[in-house]
Symmetry: C2
Subunit: 341 residues, 2 copies
């Protein structure tokens, strides 16, 4: 390919214009257009096809310490995603390869080394699967349930944000691995119906209409052995109060708190961790990078066996990325939110 062709490529980008205080507003981001970057020696140019829309993106928009630095004002919004290699100066990336990595909310990005390294997706794998169950979402559910939560046969398990991307995999994985009862908490009757009809949950609780504490007491009369928490806030407090002896809380996220200005709501019932000899532990999926392959093999097996179901919520167009992110906080999605370019 001649350099002139590459120069012709227009790179549309969504950049952070100002820091949001709650959900994203029109003024939070700005569309910009520039020339696509020129891949240097060891690099490849990737045309982005899909953006993985995850709650953690919202946390990177705050000017607060985190596991990654905040997105700077004027910078492209950081995001996982999948693209196709369109030009390559690196033998790891062949033109036509589907690759996964930190692509950003933009049409073109560079695959290279370090934080720019991308993973080549084996031929034949559906990109929607690669971005959902076989991607960071499914991996988070898998390692959260196994390595962090130490799921055991016979466990009574609760998952919050159960119809979300991670939650819907987490509950199914718990059930596959022998949980006695898997209880999902979600925000609509439609989501609750999906949990019990398709996603293997035994019980679904609608936190907007049910008395969560009473419903949980009924579904888990002997208490909760393992709570996989995606939402934080009041639901975390309710479950903490109903932990079983040596109950474990896996802190995956706190989606109810990310768009609330000020400090998060601390769980007042944390002292039940003493009474019940319980534990609460956080994790970041990046720490498991060298074991992704092992987990992907297991997840793929379950997919092929028909044990693991998945749902994607796809929006078309780069300009819809901010709207897509907001869906996570307004509860507008069922399954993994993906933007298709």
């Amino acid at each position: 390919m001649r350099i002139e062709d590459a120069m012709d490529r227009v790179n549309d980008q969504v950049v952070l214009a100002e820091r949001p205080t709650t959900i994203l507003e029109a003024s939070t981001t700005r569309l910009e257009s520039t020339s696509a970057p020129q891949p240097q020696e060891g690099e490849a140019l990737v045309e982005v096809g899909y953006l993985s829309i995850d709650p953690t993106i919202r946390t990177w928009m705050d000017d607060a310490p985190g596991y990654l630095p905040p997105i700077g004002i004027g910078e492209v919004v950081r995001s996982g995603g999948i693209g196709t290699v369109v030009e390559s100066n690196n033998s790891r990336y062949n033109v036509g390869d589907l690759v996964f990595g930190t692509v950003g909310w933009q049409r073109y990005c560079i695959a290279g080394k370090g934080s720019q390294a991308m993973t080549v997706i084996p031929a034949g794998v559906d990109p929607l699967l690669a971005i959902n169950v076989l991607g960071v979402t499914g991996l988070t559910a898998y390692f959260g349930m196994t390595d962090v939560g130490h799921i055991r046969e016979g466990d009574v398990v609760v998952v919050s944000g159960a119809a979300g991307a991670t939650g819907s995999s987490a509950g199914q994985i718990a059930k596959i691995l022998g949980a006695k009862t898997v209880i999902g908490i979600a925000g609509s009757n439609e989501k609750c119906a999906l949990l019990t009809s398709e996603l293997g949950y035994d019980v679904a609780i609608n936190y907007k209409t049910d008395n969560v504490a009473a419903a949980l007491k009924e579904a888990a009369p002997k208490g909760v052995d393992l709570f996989f928490d995606n939402v934080g806030g009041e639901i975390l407090d309710i479950v903490l109060a109903q932990l079983a002896m040596r109950g474990r809380v896996v802190l995956c996220g706190a989606i109810s708190q990310y768009t609330t200005p000020g400090r998060p709501k601390g769980p007042a019932n944390y002292l039940n961790l003493i009474i019940k000899r319980g534990s609460m532990e956080g994790f970041i999926i990046l720490d498991y990078a060298d074991r992704y392959g092992e987990a992907q093999g297991q997840l793929l097996t379950w997919l092929l066996e028909g044990k693991l179901h998945h749902a994607e919520h796809v929006l078309d167009g780069l300009d819809r990325a901010p709207e897509a992110l907001n869906l996570l906080f307004t509860g507008g999605n069922t399954g993994k939110v993906i933007v298709r370019l």
Copy 2:
């Protein structure tokens, strides 16, 4: 001994008259006198010599679920302590033996089976030691640091309530087991001086006069590996914000919250457990009962080697037990609070 003699023994008791809302008031407890109980077959009569005054007693006074049932109104206040066997119908207990167990705030109690079982203290062990470093206090510090906190060589350790009974042992145990830096948080300059001059702490922070967050940042610039928390509240939040990667929080108690009406203050910074892949775990020393001997052997060795120092704060007279308990919440004690009858 004739039955008539036993009948002559007057059993002074401190009973719970009403549930306190903050610290104990004059109306919270009531002194009563009755005849000492008559030991049945398999039981012994114990004359109480020392009461172990622990924060957990205050939690039993609330009408709330806990690891033990609440003390009923009109019942003798539950308490650990040490006494002397004065009459016995059980070959395990010989007249003259010093025994440790749940004696209650009273002059006489029964040693027997189940919850009335008591442990005979080997001859030659000072009862103040048996109730402090070799008792539940020292055992709590020991198992909290080792089995729950997984103390490791090179750890940066923080202990709150550091001049209290458990805290003063916990910090020393951390140092003995190879902690690089042990930082104590306490409530007066006298206590802070004691921490660094006698109890092996590297740094002491006075939470009443120092900026705790700034002082902690200076003492632990790379963050806190292990936090042994006795107090909860604002201090827990400050330390959570300064956890090192994979930092651990051992929840021993929350003395700042026990006398505060309403729900405890939840730690708003708990989400740092995700960012730092940290954990927070509670425990109850009763679970380690079958390993007390192992720990007592180790603690006794350190005592004999001069590595472990201890302090007791003794008040004389059963009627002073309520006042003694309040000392824990007003910060009036240094070391283990004991009531001597």
